[in-house]
Subunit: 256 residues, 2 copies
DNA sequence: AGCATTGCACGTTGTTGCACGTTTACGTAC
DNA sequence: GTACGTAAACGTGCAACAACGTGCAATGCT
């Protein structure tokens, strides 16, 4: 009879709160505190946690359900939990009022969903699904980069897109990456893509790449073009173990 | 035995007011005060808040709906079957190998889904969800128009977008419409929107508007700007009865 | 020991209803 | 048709209160 022990684990409590949230559409902090027999402070901490992951909308007195975005692509389902974790870490690097370049890619779509609301953020993107993930949410300005959309990538690239990107200066840049060679940097499949990514990196203060471990390769043979330097690399190694690496132009990889 | 308490959170109340507004088209402050068991002052504050976000129009005694706004998902679900039917009729006007301007809007998203595959079509759009509806499907080329995304519209508008649109020549144009005045033509809510729609209409050979019957109004008083002429109007009158109308610059309406 | 979680104390912020003076809508008198 | 009076609705300032975030010490687990 270990179905519902009296002792409720913190992580478990958050899951239960999420269930209630999906059932009722809202939760009241005071009621939750009474139900779980913990202080309202703990409930508030839970709600803050969940909101920072984009799983609910924090409001005065409780929390509301975020209008869930329909899962679009099958590829987005692969490694979904891992990507959400990485996205959460990457989102924590974003500061109030910043301007962000968000490239196309499933990891970056997860990032867009994980971005916190009410932070006065500007999201500049060439990917329709990234745009859809933030349009209409409070505290977001969205700028779309136009151009011919590459169906393999799911976003616009090409000279037209590059020209528009060069008109903008951003604080942070999240390029999608195809492969990471510890010695030679980031790689893409395609020359056009590289030009675009280089443009947004050059137009940004800092660059953050999100990658699942399978992107780390020793020799990037069949990838055509290197991108260049990034300042942070948010990567997952092993189960639940996070490695945030500082990555420089020459390819030095420093774990933190 | 409802476990859900009847406490209403402040922000939740605003959401509920907005829902009611979309259902009834209007709300009365005194009624809301009684319903939510708060003072009329609080209701007034809520309405002022919503109005300042452009979500409703404040009037003496309550508030009215500003149709342009809010839950895009909801608008997509309303009249879904009707819109699908209209979308298929409109899609039948598209010929092999043509270039199409597809504006933002729920009807046009339905159109994008209804467009036939393997026809070598080029879809030029300012709306992320329209782009997503065709990206990756066989026989489609997608060109995204960039710019600042208006969250009420769900697509990019503004001078940046207009400039990009002017670089392109299309065969067909599908502008989103807010209202259709049989005598004076198409109307939008907003000057910026109008400029964009005029630009894509001028850059196209023919123009086709899709509209549900509620868009047909006798006098478009509160809409700021007229768009101009369209050549075809795909509109539904009554249940399942389709009227395809030929519409000219001067406002002559010819049913077919 | 090291770490996560919790409840409490404190100062801060958001929300509410009331009091007050002003504006608006509408019916009535002229 | 215009002028006027009244009551409802309005905005604003204010005080009371609930909820909030943060720092800190106590507790429990590994």
């Amino acid at each position: 009879m270990n179905a519902t022990p009296d002792t409720t684990l913190p992580r478990e409590r958050q899951q239960l709160i999420l269930d209630r949230l999906h059932r009722d559409g809202k939760v009241v902090a005071a009621d939750l505190a009474q139900e779980f027999r913990v202080s309202e402070d703990s409930i508030r901490r839970d709600l803050r946690d969940l909101a920072s992951q984009g799983l609910c909308r924090r409001v005065y007195g409780g929390a509301l359900l975020t209008q869930a975005i329909a899962p679009l692509d099958q590829r987005h389902h692969e490694r979904a939990e891992l990507k959400r974790t990485l996205a959460h870490v990457a989102a924590s690097l974003v500061g109030e009022g910043q301007i962000l370049f968000v490239d196309a890619g499933s990891s970056n779509t997860a990032l867009a969903r994980a971005l916190p609301e009410h932070r006065d953020l500007t999201v500049v993107t060439n990917a329709p699904d990234v745009a859809l993930a933030v349009i209409g949410r409070p505290g977001f300005e969205v700028i779309l980069l136009g151009g011919r959309v590459d169906p393999r990538i799911g976003g616009a690239i090409g000279s037209r897109t590059v020209r528009q990107a060069q008109d903008i200066r951003a604080d942070l840049c999240f390029p999608g990456v195809c492969a990471i060679d510890p010695e030679r940097g980031l790689w893409t499949y395609d020359e056009e893509e590289t030009v675009f990514k280089q443009a947004i990196i050059e137009a940004s203060g800092e660059t953050v790449a999100i990658a699942t471990p399978d992107k780390l390769v020793a020799s990037a043979t069949h990838h055509t073009a290197p991108i260049g330097a990034i300042s942070h690399l948010v990567v997952s190694a092993g189960t639940d173990q996070l490695v945030v690496a500082r990555y420089r132009a020459s390819g030095v990889l420093v774990t933190m």
